[in-house]
Amino acid sequence: MSIEITMPALSPTMESGTLAKWLVKAGDRVEAGDIIAEIETDKATMEVEAVDEGIVAHLLVAAGTEEVAVNRVIAVLAEEGEDANAVPAGVGQDADMSGGEADPGGPQGGSVAAPARTQPAVQEGDSGAAPAAAPGRPLAGSDAAGTRLKASPLARRIAAQAGIALPGLTGSGPHGRIIKKDVEAAIGRAKAAPVTPSDAGRGVGADGLILPQLLDDRIYDPESYILEPLDGMRRTVARRLTESFMQVPHFPLNVDIALDRLLTARQGINDAAPDGVKISVNDLLIKASALALMAEPDCNASYTDRGIAYHKSAHVSVAVAVDGGLITPVIRDAQTKGLAALAAEMKDLAGRARARKLKPQEYTGGTFSISNLGMFGVKSFGSIINPPEGMILSVGAGEKRAVVDAAGQIVAATMMSVTLSCDHRVIGGAEGARWLAAFKRFVETPESMLL
């Protein structure tokens, strides 16, 4: 019997993704564990491993196809002793079409056309493989590099009229041509997106961002700037931050924290640590944040329409700047982790974040965020909350300042300013202040983190 390989779900909420690349071709022999394809979501590239061994009989989804529905059959393997040429491609396809779907009350209601399902209502964000054509000129046939943008004349005109950029749309016409239906779907999503507050709670997904009108050629000469097409990450960051800034009532709380004892403690820890283990200030701040969340559990909360979710564990999202955007890998159960383990995990996550190799479950599911721009010398700043988290801590640079000590003397101390942005729907001023006090206590008396 032939073996079907289906589109994997990279996260529990994933509905579809982009089949970025095939690493095998029909006729290739694969062993269990071989990497056969790369799947992209808006934030990560994932490798698909073969579970069984066999000969690749058919690749059913072309590389670069966006919005391939989860569980759709993407390839068929011929088993040992089976003639790969004799394996019908349709075996898998049909199972996909008449099986899995919740449909058959009536085929029309379900309308479960396989190709149609590759662009269902929800996702458009996985546009990593979008044709790199010039978004600056939606009516032009190609970009500067000469890459042809395939779109029907009607699709081009409707897109121009609606202010939708064609690159980034998935073409459902022949050879991936963008047709009227695709543009209308994008317009529909763009209209639907802003009125779904619950969408903010979704980890990744629905894009539907209407792009701002292009720069007016009469005011900004197109030769005077370089237009960089949006990729999936950029779109997702833009959409989520816009939603957060517009929908979440933010308020900031500031506090100055003395760092000297933490720095001394860090020195001692690193001196005593075995080779290869090095704890950063940031690692200590992550740990302190997690402990403060445990100390003030009211602050480890998410606003939802059904009620406020109080998280039992501290999953700390750490903002990492990467080429072309921002990603927040999550240290799960940070309150339970020893510093060495935490530091090692952070190093691994940050490295893979920059290589865009994080799995979705590694950058979703945080309950609190921390963003540190101290290394750039920023004194203090406020961040935008990463929904559905309730708070984000912005960490400024540690610097020597003249402070008045307990005895009334002016002394030099290493100080840092932090700003806590809170979602006022879940965090009151007093709760936020109590959390900051707890955080300050852990940082200023680092030994207490050992308790």
């Binding site: 396809q93 079409m97 056309a113 009227k180």
Partner: protein
């Protein structure tokens, strides 16, 4: 292991195309046919009627030879020879399908099929001419059993094969009826009305709707109405046939015309009041196949909701056209075979053709339908009388009408009446399929002198830029 990858039931333009495409995709395929390969289209529909209509057209030309400066003393016809030619054309093409099946290594099973519950697809049981049953299994089964003329026996509107005909008897007349009643003015009714009128029958058409060819654009309907009346056809719209009473060699029809009931006597009657799907005897109930008013309910890939079972063509509902069936065949087979370019059937771009004299052809929305969408329209009209080729052909009676969305330039619909429009319409179908806008069509060069120039002019006219009117 199944006997076949695919079994197709019915070998009309849906079924035989499905079988060929499946074979091309490497599926081991069988086709079941209870009569002649090619189905109604080849044997009793499109093809033989076109042969008949061609005879009528040539006759018309011969009779109007003097308009071309020619002298033909007496143009006449031999009905038996006309019918014989039509049958010859049909059997030639049926033979062609047989050859295609052989060439594509498709197993042809003669007999009547019914389905039995099985997995992964229903089992196909075929009863051959000797009454012997044989069961076949396949991974997929496509039903393409077609449709037949609708009858309303309660109103006496039931064919008897002798005085009251369907298209089938109308195609093989033994004698020319002097007075002919055609009930229904859709494509089938109008084509036969046009044919018999040309041969000299006194033809009356009764249509229940307020205009003939009710599926067409109202302007084209009205244009055709006038043209037919000029040729001597009697057309009654908003009229009903209350009953038919058969005598020895005539039929008396009780007609309601303008609210008045009157009786008229005819030699023959042709029933063209619609189509019903051939859903009986297939065992659909037991399988739980959804049937809505004699047609199987399917999605864009012909899937019925019963695993492994598909339906295409007339069986799945209108428009009841061979090219619709053939296209559904391809979308269905490519879908089930997982072909890379598989796409769902799009019912919005099926051209309609009526091969009467004059011909009628259309695609997309009618003006009324387009207005219902609330869009702002730009409408182009170009008459045949403004076209050199049409005048040279002696075919100056006709109209090309185009409808565009004023904002997006989308070609919403095209409607044509006149000579050869059934050959022209594909240009607009391609334009719609490729989503060309009015500008693309305006920028296209049309050859001169051709009838196709009118298609260009109609588009130009929609923008107020027609050159020859």
């Amino acid at each position: 292991m199944s006997d076949f990858d695919l079994i197709v039931v019915g070998s009309g333009p849906g079924g035989y195309v499905a079988a060929i495409r499946a074979s091309q995709l490497g599926l081991k395929t069988a086709i079941v046919e209870k009569e002649s390969l090619g189905g109604v289209c080849l044997n009793w529909g499109c093809i033989p009627t076109k042969a008949l209509l061609r005879s009528a057209e040539v006759l018309h030309l011969a009779r109007t030879a003097d308009q071309f400066g020619l002298k033909i003393d007496k143009a006449d016809f031999d009905l038996q020879a006309v019918v014989k030619r039509s049958r010859g054309v049909a059997s030639q093409l049926s033979g062609g399908v047989k050859h295609l099946m052989k060439k594509n290594k498709i197993t042809v099973i003669a007999g009547t099929a019914r389905l039995e519950q099985a997995s992964p697809a229903p089992r196909v049981v075929v009863t051959d001419t000797a009454g012997q049953d044989t069961g076949y299994t396949a991974a997929h089964v496509i039903l393409a059993t077609g449709a037949r003329a609708r009858a309303i026996p309660q109103a006496g509107l039931a064919p008897d094969g002798k005085l009251i005909w369907t298209y089938r008897e109308a195609m093989v007349p033994d004698a020319l009826p002097k007075r002919l009643l055609v009930i229904g003015s859709g494509a089938i009714g109008i084509e036969f009305a046009s044919f018999y009128n040309e041969l000299g029958s006194d033809v009356t058409v009764v249509e229940a709707m307020d205009r003939i060819l009710p599926a067409e654009d109202a302007e084209v309907s009205a244009f055709a109405h006038k043209a037919f009346e000029k040729q001597g056809l009697t057309l009654h719209t908003s009229a009903q046939v209350k009953g038919l009473t058969r005598a020895e060699d005539s039929v008396t029809a009780e007609l309601t015309l303008n609210g008045q009931t009157e009786k008229q006597t005819f030699d023959r009657v042709i029933l063209a009041i619609g189509i019903v799907g051939n859903v009986e005897g297939l065992g659909l109930d037991a399988l739980g196949v959804r049937v809505d008013r004699s047609h199987i309910v399917v999605d864009g890939f012909g899937r019925t909701g019963v695993p492994g079972l598909y339906a295409i063509g007339d069986l799945t509902g209108g428009p009841w056209l061979a090219h619709k069936a053939s296209h559904e065949a391809v979308t269905c087979v490519e879908g089930l075979a997982g072909a890379t370019d598989a796409h769902a059937f799009d019912a919005s771009n099926v051209p309609g053709c009526t091969y009467s004299h004059p011909q009628i052809a259309s695609v997309g929305l009618t003006e009324a339908q387009a207005r219902e969408t609330g869009r702002k329209l730009k409408i182009g009209r170009f008459p045949f009388v403004g076209n050199g080729k049409a005048i040279a052909l002696g075919a100056g009676d006709g109209l090309v009408k185009t409808l565009f969305d004023a904002e997006t330039g989308e070609l919403l619909g095209a409607h044509m009446v006149g000579a050869e429009v059934t050959e022209l319409i594909q240009g607009y179908v391609i334009a719609r399929q490729g989503e060309l806008t009015e500008l693309d069509l305006m920028h296209t060069i049309f050859p001169h002198p051709t009838l196709s120039e009118m298609m260009h002019e109609s588009v130009l006219a929609s923008q107020g830029q027609a050159l020859h009117i």
